[in-house]
Amino acid sequence: MRNRVKTTITIVLIVVVSLILLNTAGVLNPVKSIIDVTISNPVRLAFSEVAGSLSKSLGVITSIGSLNAKNTQLEVQVTELKNKLSELKEVKNENDILRAQLGFESRQPLKTIPARVISFEPDNIRKFLTLDKGSRHGLKKGMPVVSSGILVGTLDEVDSFSSKVFLINDPEFRIRAIGQDGRASGIVRGQLGQGLLMEKIAQNEIINLNEFVITAGSDDVPKGILIGQVEGIVRNDNAIFQSADLKSLINPSKLELVFVVTEK
């Protein structure tokens, strides 16, 4: 009996160590791709969909009391946004005319590929999610991922038929950003279990409460993708930089469909 246990332990440990070594050497990648396409992706997608609908139902039950107040608040917001939209249409027309007169190229819409979220990180510290699209669909490491025009994260690992998104609220995530009104530039970072933090903002730059923060543009990430809204500013006269707490405008843990920006 004792020998049987020892043999089992030895076999399992040899298998585990071999798998780790094979994965490090990249030998497992073709096997992973086959498993992804045939079993893993469909099963994970099915589970994710069931979990999503169950989560939504639970959410509705728990928030039923506050629905009326939220509805009234949203109606007011819709009216305000309609007014803003008509103003913006006018501004856009003027902008188009001025761009044409100055010979500037008009802004092209971002090219995106839709992808479904098939799984989430199994622990509570790191923040990643897995998509059902990979390098075979044209995805590459570093590409930004958005949902409703808001930055979700960037692609971190890209396999043939699946990819992992490094979420904006992961404690190690960093991206260059600017304030939409005051144009203050800084670096946005994720905070464990909290919102986002925009730091390294020079003291002489202006950042205001409720101001929207957008991407500043880098190698793969285009300029102007919405990141969050300022909900607190930390300013100290003796410090070189100021920082701002940002409220994320999406909940990455509730995402079902996202868009990967493939071309700027």
Binding site: R4, V5, T8, I9, V12, L13, V15, V16, L19, I20, N23, T24, K32, I35, S40, V43, R44, F47, S48, V50, A51, G52, L54, S55, L58, G59, T62, V117, S119, F120, E121, P122, D123, N124, I125, R126, F128, T130, D156, E157, K164, F166, P171, E172, R189, G190, Q191, L192, G193, Q194, L197, N251, S253, K254
Partner: protein, 170 residues
């Protein structure tokens, strides 16, 4: 049938853990696999258990951003420690032991994952980290009690079914 049920259970628990059915309570994911394996460690043979830990760990590793193999190694080591505890001490109330082990393993597992980001200059609010850990701990303990009851009930039913079948055959 028993082995099939056990494998199915661990695969289902792993899939639930990565599915996102976790976001209702402060976006905390309870550790379904950990709770399930600790409960099984009290009830089934060690040889079966270590393969179940391997299966669960592998599914988590394929979906995790931490170093490949970390989840599998952690779960196997946990099973080995539980075996050592069972061998060296007299366990009468298995549920209480399961809860204690899940509690310790939850804290330890989070610390292991935490070491993957502690190298960087990540911003971590200790109060927030403590709160999240406490919520996860409570979730895991409740889950363990539920799984314990479910597994004990299912295994008893399977035993009953096997006995009836044997009697009918003889």
């Amino acid at each position: 049938m028993r082995t099939f049920f056990l494998i199915l259970m661990v695969v289902l628990l792993s899939l639930i853990q990565i599915s996102g059915l976790n976001n209702s309570l402060f976006a905390i994911t309870p550790n379904f696999v950990l709770a399930g394996l600790v409960v099984l460690a009290m009830l089934i043979d060690f040889n079966q258990l270590i393969w179940l830990a391997f299966t669960g760990g592998l599914i988590l590793d394929f979906n995790s951003s931490v170093d490949f193999g970390l989840n599998t190694v952690f779960l196997i080591l946990m099973i080995l420690v539980i075996r050592l505890i069972i061998k060296t001490s007299e366990i009468s109330t298995k549920l209480i032991y399961s809860l204690i082990i899940v509690g310790i393993a939850t804290v330890f597992y989070n610390l292991v994952i935490f070491t993957t980001i502690i190298r960087s200059s990540a911003i971590i609010n200790p109060l927030n980290l403590g709160f999240r850990l406490a919520v996860e701990l409570v979730c895991n303990l409740v889950l363990t009690a539920l799984i314990y009851w479910l597994v004990e009930f299912s295994l008893a039913k399977i035993e009953e079914f096997n006995k009836t079948r044997k009697l009918k055959l003889s």
